[in-house]
Symmetry: C2
Subunit: 334 residues, 2 copies
């Protein structure tokens, strides 16, 4: 398995990316890692040179604030675009980047390319749930608007990912909605509902956004707009509530003492709700594995992304999606 | 001012509705309250008979689980529909109900009727914010899908409500979105943005759903689907976080003691986040004032809804919206 890693992407690149890649190369000997980026910068942090780790030198870097499409088109020798080219040209089977999300999705679309039959690839991060298992949400970012047919493709891809990568036997797929009855929602969800029922997935119906944290499903399907509204509301609510708690805790000497007792448990709980802790997000529907690590990833997160890529490759995630989509298309149209 | 109150609507009707109405009648002598419902049931809870409170007997009741449109069409002698008729026939200027939300919106649309020029009336509850002021959100329930032009009408109506009823001098109107830049969002928000800029409102641009609790605006505009996704996510997150806190608090004798110290502050804070505490929601765009009290309202909430209605009537809310919409239409089309 050959995995290309964008060494220059992320808040702490290349240092932590190199460290994470090195740790992964040492742990999994069946993986060959190609660190893509400025070789001098990479070598400065490379304390060892295992045989299954090589460097592919590039000159350019796509920055966090770059306009995605423009950056991908112009910076042809950037670490991200070159990693994409390695996947397209089958020199690698997967790429991982902690860089500019929009640019990575553009790299997936324009450099690596879609799986034939996939209308719109979807970004699928895990959203934390109270039980700690998390729910795969898609699309969360690639496409603001979606058609009912695209939602069905998201459902199929998400379902395969949960089963192939997370080992969930029969992933429960929910449709993000404002009520549970089939007739609830907007035109999009109302039209998608019966299509979901016919799709080759374990559809559990509409799931209210208030229930997502309660782990009512393993995959939640939505257009990018609704999904982002949900995710950002979750983040905003958690951040607002925890900062208000902090205020309560520091009011008097007594509350400070009380807070000190509660702090370890609360910190752990806060961490559980932090979706940055839940691994890299696959960009599903691309003809090759593309994983987005968080910009603030540490070395361990990068290593974990390699673990994810390894499991996805071992279980032929991309091939399975490709087969199911062409098969699924027949199912729906006949 | 004549205000019709649906005495039979809500979880604790008619008892608490009658109590709240009585308290309001005693406090505001310039208000005449018409309690609409079963006269025997109402009288059983009516401890006094002030001159400015009368009963309008009706036989039927729309239940919480009734299908809204069917119920309004069939139960013509229900307390809710009769209250709506009083408004349509100018026997009352406002109606208040804590009953079935869908049925109340249907009553507003089919019995009372729209303001000419309003495409879609909108339900506009207050969403709690961390600073305690709250933000008026619309539409939250009447229409799942919306056009850009309808969003502009929501913005105008919400702006007038905040100014007329809450005395906010220059209400900041935000467009619910997934990013702050003008080009962010789906087709709906991208098309609405420039129209918002031209509308006779104080448009402050896109507001991310993560920032709504941070009180970035006084009015937040959205289609009913996105708005409900936001609201239900907020409710779900608050409920999940507080129940997890409770678990943390009861882990050991030490955390229990610590929690006891923090409890008063936390309870107060939890209450601040409870959107049931934030008054009745106006159904804006109806040719008469229609207020939706929460199903779980207590007598004080009903009294407060009368207070809201009184202020709205004193400041000619409905007349102002009507004038602005016909004026606004010219503004936009010329």
């Amino acid at each position: 398995m050959r995995i290309a890693i964008d060494a220059m992407g992320g808040d702490n690149a290349p240092k932590i990316v190199v460290e994470g890649a090195l740790a992964a190369a040492k742990e999994w000997k069946d993986v060959h890692i190609i660190l893509v980026g400025n070789s001098a910068a990479i070598e400065a942090h490379l304390t060892e040179r295992p045989a299954n780790l090589t460097i592919r030198h590039t000159e350019e870097v796509i920055e966090a604030e770059d306009e995605p499409v423009k950056a991908v088109r112009r910076k042809k020798d950037s670490s991200m675009v070159v990693a994409g080219k390695l996947v397209r040209e089958k020199e690698a089977e997967a790429m991982i980047s902690a860089g500019n999300t929009g640019a990575l999705m553009t790299t997936g679309l324009l450099v690596v390319g879609r799986i034939p039959g996939i209308e719109r690839p979807a970004l699928a991060p895990m959203i934390p749930t109270m039980d700690g298992h998390g729910v795969l949400a898609l699309d969360l970012g690639a496409n603001m608007d979606a058609t009912p047919e695209q939602l069905v493709q998201y459902a199929i891809m998400g379902s395969i990912y949960r089963s192939k990568v997370h080992g969930v036997a029969k992933p429960r797929v929910g449709l993000l909605n404002v009520g549970t009855e089939a007739a609830k929602g907007n035109e999009l969800t109302k039209t998608a509902y019966p299509l979901m029922e016919q799709a080759p997935i374990h559809f559990v119906g509409n799931v209210e956004s208030s229930q997502v944290l309660r782990a009512k499903c393993d995959v939640i399907v939505c257009d990018g707009f609704a999904g982002n509204i949900m995710l950002k509301t979750l983040e905003g609510a958690a951040s607002a509530i925890f900062s208000a708690l902090k205020q309560e805790f520091t009011k008097t000497i007594f509350t400070k003492l009380a807070a000190a007792v509660l702090k370890p448990g609360l910190t752990q709980f806060r961490k559980k709700l932090d979706y940055n802790e839940h691994g890299a997000a696959p960009f599903l529907g691309i003809d090759g594995l593309v994983l987005k690590s968080h910009g603030s990833s540490d070395a361990n997160a990068i290593k974990n992304a390699v673990r994810q890529a390894r499991i996805a490759l071992q279980n032929d995630l991309v091939g399975t999606i490709s087969a199911e989509i062409s098969h699924g298309k027949r199912d729906i149209t006949t």
